[in-house]
Each structure stands twice: as structure tokens, then as C-alpha cells.
């Protein structure tokens, strides 16, 4: 890659960050962190559980507790589901994508943020 010029974008969010000249990370290492879980919350009775995001946890129980802390902060949600991301089977957007899935890119398949929370504007 010929990205020796450091480019900085204001839309790095909290402030300008380089979009070139730093490593991207390619998932080449053996995973050592806690497994990834997807979190679904039923905001109130009568509504579906909606995907709200993901988190890391050592086991299901910890995932449930962390989900409560992170995604409902207080007791706003009436019900939470957590499921290990690698236990989700997702449809393929294009039949032939396995041909082009980059090597070693297993997380490519996981559907983080797949569903859009219904309270979300703009989308």
C-alpha cells in the first residue's frame, strides 16, 4: 500500500485522526478477548426485541448483566436477550460472497448492528 502521506480527517469523531499511515489491523492474531455477544432489548411490553448493539463477556450470564449496564443503564428495558455472535446464522446478501470473503475474516459474518433500533432517526 502506498499510504505514506498522513491524511487527517475531522470526521474521526472526537477529533482529527489519521486515515493513512497507521495500521488498520487485519485480524491475523488469535482471539484472546472475551467472546462477542449481540444484544436485543424489548423496550416495553408489546414491542419486539430489537438489536441494540454488542458487547464482550466471558459467559452468557455476564453478557446479560453487562447488557443491562451498558444498553439499559437503568431498568428501562423490560427484557433483554443476549446471544453469542458466532451462534447466529445469517443470510447472505449475495449468494457468491464466500468467493470474496477475505481470508481469515470470520467476523465478517457477524451481524453486529444488523437491525436498526426503531427509535433511530435519519435512517
Amino acid at each position: 500500500m502506498s499510504e505514506d502521506v498522513t491524511d487527517l480527517t475531522a470526521e474521526g469523531g472526537r477529533g482529527a485522526v489519521p486515515t493513512t499511515g497507521v495500521e488498520a489491523g487485519a485480524g491475523e492474531r488469535k482471539r484472546r478477548s472475551w467472546p462477542l455477544y449481540e444484544v436485543f432489548v424489548r423496550g416495553k411490553r408489546g414491542l419486539n426485541h430489537v438489536h441494540v448493539g454488542s458487547l464482550h463477556a466471558a459467559d452468557d450470564e455476564m453478557a446479560l448483566h453487562n447488557a443491562r449496564d451498558v444498553y439499559t443503564r437503568r431498568n428501562e428495558g423490560v427484557s433483554i436477550w443476549v446471544v453469542r455472535a458466532d451462534h447466529i446464522t445469517a443470510s447472505s446478501p449475495a449468494e457468491k460472497d464466500p468467493f470474496f470473503a477475505p481470508a481469515g475474516d470470520k467476523v465478517y459474518r457477524h451481524p453486529t448492528f444488523y437491525a436498526i433500533p426503531e427509535e433511530v432517526p435519519h435512517l
Binding site: V5, A10, E11, G12, G13, G15, V17, E23, A24, G27
Partner: protein, 321 residues
């Protein structure tokens, strides 16, 4: 069966069509490798900025001057941990994992926003960070709610909602302080003097020095140029400064009726480059702190994993029995 080149061309066309239609790219879609890499860098470093950003404000939690301010600051810094999590999760949809990104951060292989390499020296800094730094962040982040990459855009929507509270609490603290004692008013002005220029630098170098902006804009990762966002920030901030009764430390700052915008002076880009290169007032301290926390937590993370493995083995044994 069509050959691979033909398929690749088909995917690329599909990607271009999606971007052109202002639709979102989702994790399992095909995407150009450079798009993926650019996103990983941007999202990961945004996440790092949230996490490192906990430190300068966290510096005052234990000394917050009232219990209400203590609760506000604690909740705010907690939000930043949450924002970091949302963003790391968005990056993970691109095929990296958080542990790996954390290591790149503490090994200085990825950066974070330079603004967090400035120290917080008074409680007015807590207000000014909320007002100027979070204000600049909002300018940067709001367009990202329409970013072409779905997971990033959705994380940003959640974050932007919380950020506006952050900015409000900062401004409210400053209002209380300028209406307080003489010493408090002086503290606010001194803090504004220190943070104004670094805040302008948060938007990055002038457009002329940002060669890759056009590609990012074409991909819908970037919606406005650095200078456009900086101008918007200046125009929004000037009347807010007037309402507070503080002076922004720029003798060239004035309304330009022809442009219908404020003219302003040039930030010290040498300072910006120096901070980015690692010689800011607190670069070493921030990274050492993050590394220490991560390393001190290793035995805890391992214990939780070992316990989970034991529990899983036990339930397998029970099931077999």
C-alpha cells in the same frame, strides 16, 4: 461458472450503486479493501479517542466541587466508556477484534484525537471540554450519522444523542462559574484561552493538506471537508462565547459580511503536528495509563474466561451423566 474477475467487477458495481444511491453498506456486503481499511482506521481511532478521553475528565471526578457535579462528571465519563464500546463493536464488524485494536493503541500503532493530549488543569476545563471539545466533536460526528457504513452510522446516532447532553452540562457549568466569584470567572477565561486553539485543531489540517479527503467523500465516509466543519464550529461558538462573557483568544476573529461567516486566525499547525507525533503535554502519560489499566486487568479477564470454561465443562459433564 463465471470467472472471478467478472464476479469481482459485478460486486464492485453493486457497491458503487449502493453508495451512489446513498444506501448503507452492511457488514456482509462486498466492499473494496481500501474502503474497509479506511473505515477500520477511522472507527478504531474514534473508539480510542473515547477511551483515552476518559482520562482528562476522570482527572477531576475525585475532586468535583459539588455532589451534583460529581454525579454529572461520573455519568459523562461513563458514557465515554460506552461510546468506546459501541465504536469498537462497529469496528469488529469489519473483521478486527477489540483486543487487537487495544494493543495497536497501546503500542502507538494507531492514534487517537490529539485534543486528549492536553492536560486538565482546573475545574473550568471540565466545562470547556464539554462546551468546545464536545461541541467540536458534535460538528464532526453529526455528519457521521449518515456515514455510508451502516454499523458506524448507527453507533454514531446513539452517541450523538448522548453527546448533546455532554455539551449542555459543560456550558451549564461555565454559566454557573461566570455568574460565581471573580476567581471562577478568571478560571473560565484562562481555560478558554488554553483550549480554543486545540479545539480548532480538532478538525484537522486545512483541506489543501488533506489529499485523501476526496476519496473518503466519494465513499460517503466523509460528508464535509475539515475546513467546512471548522467554519461551522467557529460560527456557532462565537455567539455562545458572547453569552458567557468570555473572550476567544484570536485577534483576527471577526464577522465577514461578504462571506456571511467569521474570519479567524490560523492555528499553530506545528504544535498540532508535534502533538500528533507524540510530544504533546500528556501523550506519554495517557498511553502509559491505558497500558497500565489494560495490563493490570489481564489476570481478571483471564480469570473470568477460566471460570466460564470450567462452568461449561461442568454442564457438559452433567449432561453426559
Amino acid at each position: 461458472m463465471p470467472d472471478t474477475d467478472e464476479l469481482a467487477a459485478g460486486f464492485e458495481a453493486e457497491f458503487e450503486r449502493t453508495i451512489a444511491a446513498d444506501q448503507r453498506i452492511e457488514p456482509r456486503d462486498w466492499m473494496p479493501d481500501a474502503y474497509r481499511r479506511t473505515l477500520i482506521r477511522q472507527i478504531a481511532q474514534h473508539a480510542h479517542s473515547e477511551i483515552i478521553g476518559m482520562q482528562p475528565e476522570g482527572n477531576w471526578i475525585l475532586r468535583a466541587p459539588s455532589l451534583r457535579r460529581k454525579a454529572i462528571l461520573l455519568a459523562k465519563v461513563q458514557d465515554e466508556a460506552g461510546h468506546g464500546m459501541y465504536l469498537y463493536a462497529a469496528a469488529e464488524t469489519l473483521g478486527v477484534d477489540r483486543e487487537e485494536l487495544t494493543e495497536k493503541l497501546i503500542d502507538s500503532k494507531q492514534k487517537y484525537s490529539s485534543i486528549f493530549n492536553y492536560p486538565t488543569l482546573s475545574y473550568a476545563d471540565i466545562g470547556v471540554i464539554g462546551w468546545l471539545v464536545d461541541g467540536a466533536a458534535i460538528c464532526n460526528q453529526v455528519p457521521l450519522c449518515r456515514c455510508s457504513y451502516g454499523p458506524y452510522a448507527r453507533a454514531m446516532i446513539r452517541i450523538c444523542k448522548e453527546e448533546s447532553f455532554h455539551q449542555r452540562q459543560g456550558y451549564e457549568l461555565l454559566l454557573a462559574m461566570v455568574n460565581g466569584t471573580e476567581a471562577q470567572r478568571a478560571m473560565v477565561q484562562e481555560s478558554v484561552d488554553r483550549w480554543w486553539w486545540p479545539s480548532l485543531m480538532m478538525f484537522g489540517p486545512p483541506d489543501a493538506d488533506s489529499p485523501n479527503t476526496q476519496q473518503s467523500m466519494a465513499w460517503g465516509i466523509k460528508r464535509h471537508t475539515n475546513d467546512e466543519l471548522r467554519q461551522r464550529f467557529v460560527d456557532m461558538t462565537v455567539p455562545q462565547a458572547a453569552a458567557l462573557g468570555v473572550t476567544l483568544p484570536d485577534p483576527d476573529l471577526r464577522w465577514n459580511p461578504e462571506r456571511q461567516a467569521h474570519d479567524y486566525g490560523e492555528p499553530d499547525w506545528e504544535e498540532f503536528k508535534a502533538v500528533l507525533a507524540g510530544s504533546g503535554p500528556t501523550n506519554a502519560q495517557r498511553l502509559a495509563h491505558r497500558r497500565r489499566a489494560h495490563e493490570n486487568g489481564a489476570w481478571v479477564r483471564e480469570a473470568a474466561q477460566a471460570y466460564a470454561d470450567k462452568q461449561a465443562a461442568r454442564s457438559r459433564k452433567e449432561a453426559a451423566a
